[in-house]
């Protein structure tokens, strides 16, 4: 009984000293803190953050927008008219569409990377930027399209003019005696002009 009492006292003091030894050791171990804005952890390979679209390569195929599970990508295109120089992608293919609108709403984006895989020209891709918070939600709507509004209107007008011409031709063809064969030569013509 008495012996147990002194043993208790001793073990009490001893365990406190053991604990103090441990904490004292930790006082001099280097800290594990990373001073975040000054020092950043290197992101893992294939980490998914903010998207980037290389508009030079984009052909406006809309596949990324269709793959997106949260519908955060909005694409509008206008067909080019014959004589327009839309440019070439980096693998040498001629582009056919004017991309008049390419918006990605990062407020909605869930960084799933599903839009990246279907892209035929590999122009939409993940970057390593993850610090893009904003005070206004609207500021998270990123506009990647390179055309100015005036240019967009111009492209739309020229395409509408082309359509109108075609409709006129069609009407003229319909008025002519050969109604069945008339649309058939139209199509390849349209394709060739687009390419």
């Amino acid at each position: 009984m008495i012996k147990q009492y002194f043993l208790n006292t001793w073990s009490g003091i001893w365990t406190v000293l053991v604990g103090m030894k441990i904490t004292f050791k930790h006082l001099f171990t280097p800290s594990v803190t990373i001073q975040y804005p000054d020092v950043k952890v290197e992101l893992p390979e294939r980490s998914r953050n903010r998207l980037y679209v290389n508009m030079d390569d984009c052909i406006g195929c809309d596949q990324c927008a269709r793959a997106c599970p949260v519908s955060c990508i909005e694409i509008e295109t206008v067909k080019s008219v014959p004589g327009d120089e839309v440019g070439k992608t980096s693998n040498g293919k001629k582009k056919a569409l004017w991309v008049t609108k390419f918006n990605i709403d990062f407020a909605k984006c869930c960084c799933c990377q599903l839009c990246v895989f279907p892209c035929p020209t590999e122009c939409i891709k993940m970057t390593s930027i993850y610090e893009f918070s904003e005070f206004e939600r609207d500021n998270l709507l990123y506009n990647f399209a390179t055309l100015t509004p005036a240019e967009v209107d111009e492209k739309k007008d020229s395409y509408a003019k082309l359509e109108a011409e075609k409709a006129a031709q069609k009407a003229a063809a319909a008025a002519e005696p050969k109604p069945v064969a008339a649309p058939a030569p139209e199509k390849p013509k349209e394709e060739s002009s687009n390419n």
Partner: protein, 357 residues
Amino acid sequence: MIFDWLSSLIGNEIIAGIICACLPLFLFILPFALVAVLMERKVSAHMQDRLGPMRTGYHGIIQTIADILKLFQKEDIMSNEVDKPLFNIAPVLTFIGSYAAFAAIPFTSNFIGTKLDLGIVYILGVSSFGVVSILMAGWSSNNKYSLLGAMRSAAQLVSYEIPTFLVVVTLITVTGTTSLLNLSEMQTGHFWNWMILGGPGLNLTKFLLIPFMIVGAVIVFISTLAEVNRTPFDVPEADSELVAGYYTEYSGMKFAMFFLAEYANMFAVSAIVSALFFGGYQSPFGYLGNLLGVSWLVPFEQLFWFTLKGCLFVFVQMWLRWTLPRLRVDQLMTLCWKYLIPFAFANLLIVGLLVVL
């Protein structure tokens, strides 16, 4: 004495008294609290392998000043149901309790608030003043957590005063003085004259006293630690169970008052332990001033050693805080009544016998 010097300089005892009373506050407690809060944060951080405040100034050295500026700006929130007079008085009273103790603490051989012959008894008396203000704060807050904290605090402080006093009585039987100034003066010379090593003089009694003095020092350290409500004895303000204990309802400067009182108390207690057992303001190796023949240097050296010893014990308190988990209320009482008090009593008896022999 500072007071005599000031009253002869100014020629008015009241003004001199007021200045004298403010000196430890502005020269010592406030700077100490500034340093100690930062020290606490740094020590706790490094013990947990963190860095602590790093962004305000070099390694966060002006963090406390920034915190104080923030506290000044804070709205003084008071809930409708509080007992307003008591609620407002309590933080001031807490601070008075801890500040009054500084009146009898000898900072150097020249700088002591009053030369009280009953210094140590007076300090123990005013430090129990804290119970009143803590109960006041807890009761007037009209909050169950505050009241629980206050009740626990009252039980704890009343219990732990007993071992403290028993050890002090032990020291009084050895030294025959209750004045902290005389006690510190006795332990002059080198560190082997300190009370922890049996006190001044070189005889058989001194060597027989050493183990009992060490036991006494440990007991008085533990019980004073409990009196300032620090972890592992922080049941009155147990963050994880009682929000913040008796000062849950306080905000802004009133909260800062409690905080300041806590740090002032920590230092007061450390100063008492060092004055009782570790030579107070006395240097362990003799004085450079005496060696060089410049006597004006001695008080500054004494202040240095006093601050150093105080800070050392404050560091040990922080060290314990980040080492030990909180005691349960029953364990707290067990430690006090079943362990500290019997040991202190046995210590008192044996030391008494040794002194008589």
